[in-house]
Every structure is written in structure tokens, then in C-alpha cells.
Symmetry: C2
């Protein structure tokens, strides 16, 4: 390994001069600087992050909290898309992106301990078990944190505009003549699920439609099977099929559609169905899915911007929702 001492020896100067030259300090003559830089290149010098960071403290490193304890893995389009954008944004600024871990070698650490151990500059919380005991410790530690779309109310959060999305979906259905609109909500431990449910009730009330609790079912999860089960539950408790269904995710919507089909109902002829997410393939399903499209790019970028601002102490960012990212209604074949 080539160190600044090796360079200093060859250059016939002190290591501190090399350090200054490498860091482009103006306390070094231009000639020396060029000479040292050339030498560094020739000798294949690469600085050692550990030595550097041991001195300077800040790490240029951002942690991603991404618990796979939940069944939502990286495979989930929304989160992986958000992560992609986030990563691109912060890397361009010179940060590196590391997954927050719970272990180092054989030793177990809490999230906070790991962040301290690594001198992490900030954390993006993507998915996490809200009840995780280690989480509170982290969110209260003072480390810059931004969260995306989950139930952590004590953390600055970037989220899709669930109210706007819900309103657009319902108003469209009503415009098309739907009278009895059901809602299959997401699991209510999720923040977005709660917002979409609230939005559902609000919108109906504002349109002078009475909220019928029998038209509301909570899916156990955001996935396909939960949607299927929820639909069966809906039919059971409502004792029939509504005009339309507003589902809290595309997967739920697709599960519901398949369940409806198996029961002999046609979508959209008998029932209109709207999803939420705009997973790419919903364009190609049968019927293609009308859905509320989340702007993953903007969510990722906004999360990055807010986290960087926090790290740089640029402004005070209060816990709670710091940005509602606009959504869009994509009309396809599953509604009539």
C-alpha cells in the first residue's frame, strides 16, 4: 500500500506537504503540488478512508434502513425504485450508500450502534418494522434521518399524496356513475394505508355519500393474496358486490380482480377496480389496471434532498410529513 510517506520520500518533502498537495491546499507551491500529484498517480496512491475518517469524523456515507423482516423486500417496485433514485442523487454529491446492518463480524449491534460505529452521516428509512425496539433508539438519537412512506410519525417523512390520489380515484368512479364504492385498505399499521382510508371516508362525505362500514375491508398485507382474501371478506360482509372497488395497492387490486373472476363477476362490466402504485406490468394485465401512479423518482429525490439538508444543517426540518409528492390517475381498462 502506497502512503503519503512513500510519496514524501520520493518527493523529498514532508508528509504534511504531500497531504496538503493532495487536498489541494493553497499552502503549497504550484510546482510542488504538480510534482506530488504526478508522483501520487505514478505510484498508484489511493488514500485510506479509515485513516482519513479517523481524523475528520464525517464519513460521506449514508445508511439505508431496509429491514427484510417484513415481507416487503427490495423486490417491491416502489421501494427499489425510490432507492435507485435516492442512490443516484446522493452519489452524485459524493456520498456512498450502505445498508444499515445489525452485525459486524460476529458481534451484534443495534441500528444506532451500527450507525455510530460507522460514523454514518445520515439514514434513509425505507421499510422497517415500526414496532422494532431498536428503531426508537435510532430515531431519537439526533442522527439525520428521513423516512419514506411509513408509519414513523416522529421522523421527517416524504410520502405520496395519498389524499389527492384517493380523491381522484373516487371522483372518477363517481363521475362514471358508481354509487357503492368499496375500499380494500392496506394493512393499517402502514401510514399510507391509514391515509388512503381517511381519504376514502373524507371524499365520500364531501360528496354527501354515507360511509358504509360494510364496504370497507382491511387487507392483511399489500400483496396479491391479501387482496384475494379481502375481496371474499368484502362480499361476505356486504352481502353482495359493489359497483366499484378502490384498492390500496395494485397487487391487492389484481388479487381482487382474480377473485372476482373466479366468482363469475366481470371487471369492469360488473365491478370497476382501481389500484394504487402503477406497477409497470399493470399495463399488460387483463384487464389492464386503472391505478393511482406514484412518482418514485420524485419521492427518492425529495428524500435525498431533505436528508442532505439535514446533514448539512441547512434548515430545521420538523418531524412528520415534509413533502407530499403528487400522484396521477392512470385510466385503463379495469374501470368503466
Amino acid at each position: 500500500m502506497v502512503t503519503i510517506y512513500d510519496i514524501a520520500k520520493r518527493a523529498g518533502c514532508a508528509s504534511s506537504t504531500v497531504s496538503k498537495a493532495l487536498n489541494n491546499s493553497n499552502q503549497v507551491s504550484k510546482k510542488r503540488k504538480e510534482e506530488i500529484l504526478a508522483l501520487a498517480k505514478e505510484m498508484g496512491y489511493v488514500p485510506n478512508s479509515n485513516a482519513r475518517l479517523l481524523k475528520t469524523k464525517n464519513s460521506w456515507s449514508i445508511g439505508i434502513l431496509f429491514s427484510e423482516d417484513l415481507n416487503i423486500g427490495l423486490e417491491h417496485h416502489f421501494f427499489s425504485g425510490v432507492l435507485q433514485e435516492f442512490k443516484t442523487y446522493v452519489e452524485a454529491l459524493g456520498y456512498e450508500v450502505t445498508f444499515v446492518s445489525k452485525k459486524v463480524g460476529a458481534q451484534s449491534l443495534t441500528y444506532l450502534e451500527w450507525c455510530k460505529y460507522k460514523n454514518i452521516d445520515g439514514v434513509l428509512i425505507l421499510t422497517v418494522d415500526v414496532d422494532d425496539v431498536n428503531l426508537k433508539e435510532l430515531t431519537e438519537s439526533g442522527i439525520p434521518i428521513v423516512s419514506v412512506d411509513n408509519g414513523l410519525i416522529n421522523v421527517p417523512t416524504v410520502i405520496s399524496d395519498n389524499f389527492q390520489g384517493t380523491r381522484m380515484a373516487l371522483e372518477y368512479l363517481m363521475l362514471k356513475g358508481a354509487k357503492h364504492i368499496a375500499h380494500i385498505s392496506g394493512p393499517l399499521r402502514s401510514f399510507s394505508a391509514v391515509e388512503r382510508l381517511e381519504g376514502y371516508k373524507d371524499t365520500l362525505k364531501k360528496s354527501d355519500v354515507e360511509v358504509d362500514e360494510n364496504l370497507i375491508v382491511e387487507a392483511y398485507n399489500y400483496d396479491y393474496n391479501s387482496g384475494k382474501n379481502a375481496l371474499l371478506q368484502l362480499i361476505k360482509q356486504y352481502k353482495g358486490v359493489p359497483d366499484a372497488i378502490y384498492a390500496a395497492s395494485d397487487d391487492i387490486a389484481l388479487g381482487a380482480i382474480i377473485a372476482l373472476r373466479e366468482l363469475g363477476y366481470k371487471v369492469p362490466d360488473d365491478v370497476s377496480v382501481i389500484g394504487f402504485d402503477n406497477i409497470e406490468l399493470t399495463r399488460y394485465t387483463s384487464p389492464s389496471l386503472t391505478t393511482v401512479s406514484q412518482n418514485k423518482m420524485m419521492v427518492g429525490t425529495e428524500a435525498a434532498k431533505h436528508l442532505i439538508a439535514l446533514i448539512n444543517n441547512e434548515k430545521n426540518i420538523a418531524p412528520g410529513i415534509v413533502k407530499r409528492v403528487p400522484v396521477e390517475l392512470i385510466i385503463r381498462e379495469s374501470t368503466k
Copy 2:
């Protein structure tokens, strides 16, 4: 920040003793050890990775090379699924997972420089521009590297069994009576695309079917639009529609199906179509897609195993394909 000196002071011993106790050395009395451990906990001591790694060299850290220059982002199910599995596997062993970056603060680095800078133990190459000049430097550096499913022949590679998958797909089509089977290949800069194309030709030859070059089209990319364009090209050069199409990815297959539909052909009545990947939603497309399913979990785990073995110098792993992961033919509605 609590250091071992702080603990030493409180414990009334030397910092080296604290270090030994913390590292569970047997050169320290049981009583002392317990006392120090209790004190460390009470004082909220967390070791400093930079100081530690400055001494010990190995970093317990694995880099993920994931270039977004290609259009294949984290959103691609296959790669994000593989990454998820890989991450889970190596984290359980105590490694942390970091994306390989090209910048540190304001400074640009090559991949290799970054890996040296961070003292990375090993690298998983997920997606990368094969022609990237920085790549060669990295793969020839001697740093442990494993790659997944791409064209880097000079690196130990874990890959789906494209030959087996192709054979199963084609034999199924032939069994069902297809005489003229076209192949929409992936972009041939991709290793898997080449293998699937080779497998196509081999299988036909072994079945005494003459290979008709007009039945082969290369898609510009693995995505939907490339599939659409490739299909139009196919029809043009073949001057008609074949009995069946074997596409190198699900997205290509779906693009082709839509293009066929727009031209008035029915799938599977007029043409059977088989994809590759088994993206989850292909169950719900119309028609649902017959496809070769890749085992993301196993690819991720195998890549992890091989990389760890390389890091630990457990065995000599030759460049080239080190593991072909079995695939499975999933029969659905797009074939008859």
C-alpha cells in the same frame, strides 16, 4: 464519544486491558472482563470502525457494483431479487453491503480506487457496462469478485442455466406441434442473451430442425419496447408470423404479444409465446405468460457463497461460470 480510554479510567486499568476484554481475549481475568463489559454497556460504548479497521485491515464490507448507466436499474426484479438474497446471506455472516461508488466527496475515483480506499473485502458485480474502462482494472486487481449473469468472462460467474431453460421452452413448443419457432434474443452484449441464442440453435439442430436466420431477431434491450420493435422486425424479415416465439425475457415477450395483438394476431391461438424470468405479474397478464422461471434466491445465495469462499481463500475459484442455477418452465396461457 466514549472510548476505551474512558472505560479504562473508570475501571482503573489500562486501555489495552479494556481492548482485550472487549475482544474477549483470554489474557484477561474473568472478573475484570465482566466488570469492563458492564462498564462499557453502562457508558454506551461503541467501537469506532475507522480506528479499528485502520489497524486490522479487513473491513467486513462487500461492495455491490451496480451501474445505472445501463437502463437496468434496481427496479429490475431479477437483480433486486438477487441482491436481496445476497444481502441477507452475507449480513448474517457479519458483512455489510455498500454500493461501489465513483466519488468520495468532491473527488472522483475509479472502481478499483474506491475499493482500495474503503478496504473492501470483495465485490459482487450485478449490472455493469462491460466496456467500461474502469471495469477491467477492477477485475484484474486480484480483489475477490463474483459476478451474476453478465458478459464478464474473466470473473467467476453465477448464472441461470440458460441452455436448460431454452431447451425446455423449445421442446415444449415442439411437443405442442410448433414447426417454425422464432427467437427474439436479448441484446447480444449480454452473456445470457448469447447463451439463450446458442441454446436455441443447438436445440433445433439436435431436433433436426434447420435454423432459419430469418426467424432470429435481436432485441435492442431486454425491455417491453424492444420486444415490440423486435417483433415488427421479425415479421418483416420472415415475411409472416411463425408458429411460436421464444423471447429472451418476459418484458420482450409481453411487448411482442401486444404488438401481435395490434396487428390482429391472437396469442396463443395464432402464435404461442414463451418468455424468460417469471416476473411475478406475468401470472396476471392477458394471456398469462408461459415462461422460464429464474431462481433469484439461489442465484443470490450461490453468488454470496462463492464470494465468501474467495474472500476466505477457501478454494481456488476459476474465472468463468462457476455455477449454473437450474431454471423451471412455468406453463400458462400464452402457449397452446
